[in-house]
């Protein structure tokens, strides 16, 4: 079934424009982009690298400020990074001078929760992602996949209303990536928190999402949003074999491919 969304927008981006200046050239990373995220859904932002998906994600949690437009969280304009939103980074970025458990506790410390209470909460989440046994180890002893799981634990421990994930699995090898996708689906089914997920991997998006927003660059914008009408729980093989999934994949590839072709056509001299 598609997600039990109640149709309300918990997070909304309106007419977002963001311009970057790189070595004297200006690039419109995002131009007049709008997006509504429904409560309880899993929404993916898909597109090739460098087309503004990460920028939009960061703007959604006020990690970057837009040059135009605004973000509304639960109806209110967002002025600073929200306590009710959590972010998982591509590079994980665990603090190397803290143990795994202490890393997870960091988010709680920001809210003034320390000591035994923080530790208990952190341990609980770590056990949830299967890392209870390595809680005292320093992060560098963990593999990439395990580190990213700690990153997810760090995000979940604060019980956020919205989870934002920026290509969290792109640095990992295929096997780990697929394992973590399954894990993420399991966690999401358990908590049903609204999730916005950035990826360039179409299969990953189809596996995990209720909706997929397709991005394109020059300038960065959303060109379409597709529904993913697959029943949950989903399996990897289903994504590869199910006719609906295959059709969806073809459409997406074609859409993004068409855009790429248009890009190329626009770049070449006019006939």
């Amino acid at each position: 079934m598609t997600a039990d969304v109640d149709g309300q927008a918990i997070l909304e981006a309106r007419n977002i424009t963001k311009v970057f200046e790189v070595k004297r050239t200006r690039v419109a990373a995002l131009y007049d982009v709008s997006l509504s995220v429904r409560r309880g859904e899993f929404l993916s932002l898909v597109g090739p690298s460098g087309c503004g998906k990460t920028t939009l994600l960061r703007i959604l949690d006020n990690l970057t400020t837009p040059d135009a437009g605004e973000v509304l969280f639960e109806g209110e304009p967002l002025r600073t990074s929200s306590r009710d939103m959590a972010f998982v980074f591509q590079e994980t970025a665990l603090l190397p001078w803290r143990s795994v458990c202490r890393n997870v506790e960091l988010g709680l410390e920001a809210r003034g929760i320390t000591g035994k209470e923080a530790r208990a909460a952190a341990m609980e989440v770590l056990r949830l992602v299967g890392l209870g046994s390595v809680s005292e180890q320093p992060p560098y002893t963990l593999s990439g996949g395990m580190q990213q799981r700690v990153g997810i634990a760090r995000a979940l421990v604060t019980q956020p209303k919205v989870l934002l994930m920026d290509e969290p699995f792109s640095h990992l090898d295929n096997f780990t990536r697929e394992a973590l996708q399954v894990e993420l689906q399991r966690l999401w089914s358990q908590f049903r928190m609204t999730t916005v997920f950035v990826t360039h991997d179409i299969d990953e998006a189809i596996f995990l999402s209720d909706r997929i927003a397709l991005f394109r660059s020059h300038p960065g914008r959303i060109v379409d949003i597709a529904d993913v009408p697959l029943e949950r729980p989903r399996t990897q093989s289903q994504v590869r074999a199910d006719p609906t999934a295959i059709k969806l994949r073809e459409l997406i590839v074609e859409e993004l491919g068409v855009q790429a072709a248009e890009d190329a056509a626009a770049a070449s001299p006019k006939a």
Binding site: L63, S81, M85, F87, F89, P96, L106, R154
Partner: protein, 283 residues
């Protein structure tokens, strides 16, 4: 590439005869010189002793290991050395501590706030390029001929490497760490204390090491020039009196003090930030 095989299989008879000689020469080739340093030092000390014993006039210039040892015993017994040592440590630690706090604080401010960085950049450049020892006479003039002048000099001398490296360290804190702090909604104080400073710690400790070397230099120099204080003062006194044995003993004590303080700094670093060594490869 010459191929093994033709000479590998040998007639057991000839092999046995050659074995001992072959073993020694291959051992020699395999020995990479480990331990030769100690041998060299032993040889040096031996030659030194022999020279002093054979040519008495040289005694007044170079002394001998045994004379140095005797002198060492004397200045320890007379409490001259322990007192000078303690005075030196006290001065250096105070001066270094002030320099560390100042250097890290200003470096932190420069690395975090563009406005501070832009204002102080040229000043720091000048400070680093200048031979700060030229300020010793200034310290003497301003603070008199005693303890305050010496500590002030040590501070002024050692603050620059600490400041520079702290600044660089804070500036180089990965922007991802800043984003993580923001996403986790850490307050400014928490962010600086829990994320920025630990992340900059490796650089800060490099700065502290360099600063400590400068502090030791300043301690000895000030001890020699501003009154006769501490180990520096001892070297002045013994030098003027021509007591070369005691002088060399004082020099060795200064080396010892330097080692001691560096070791303490290393211990502090490993206690506070054990992860620096392990992760410095994976940066």
């Amino acid at each position: 590439m010459s191929v093994a095989g033709s000479t590998m299989v040998e007639d057991p008879g000839t092999a046995a005869a050659d074995a001992p000689a072959a073993r020694t020469s291959s051992l020699l080739r395999a020995w990479d010189g480990r331990g030769i340093g100690l041998v060299a030092v032993a040889v040096f000390v031996g030659l030194w002793q022999w020279y002093g014993d054979s040519y008495p006039h040289a005694l007044y210039l170079f002394s001998t290991p045994s004379a140095v040892a005797t002198a060492f015993g004397h200045i320890v017994a007379s409490a001259e050395l322990p007192r000078a040592f303690a005075d030196s440590v006290a001065e250096e630690v105070v001066g270094f501590a002030i320099a560390a706090v100042l250097g890290i604080a200003v470096g932190l401010a420069m690395g975090s706030l563009r406005f501070v960085e832009m204002s102080l950049d040229p000043l720091v450049t000048i400070g680093i390029a200048t031979p700060v020892v030229v300020l010793l006479p200034v310290m003497e003039d301003w603070f008199g001929f005693g303890y305050v002048a010496r500590v002030a000099f040590i501070t002024v001398l050692s603050v620059w490497p600490i400041l520079l490296n702290s600044w660089i360290g804070v500036r180089n804190v990965s922007s991802t760490y800043h984003l993580v702090s923001r996403a986790l909604t850490l307050g400014r104080r928490q962010r600086v204390w829990k994320v920025v400073l630990p992340a900059a710690a490796p650089y800060i400790f490099v700065g502290l090491r360099l600063g400590l070397a400068m502090a030791t230099l300043g301690m000895v120099l000030a001890g020699q020039e501003v009154g006769d204080a501490g180990l520096g003062g001892l070297t002045e006194i013994f030098g003027q009196k021509g007591l070369v044995g005691a002088l060399i003993a004082a020099i060795l004590s200064a080396t010892g003090l330097a080692f001691l303080l560096f070791w303490l700094l290393r211990v502090a670093e490993e206690r506070l930030f054990p992860w620096i060594r392990e992760t410095s490869g994976s940066r």
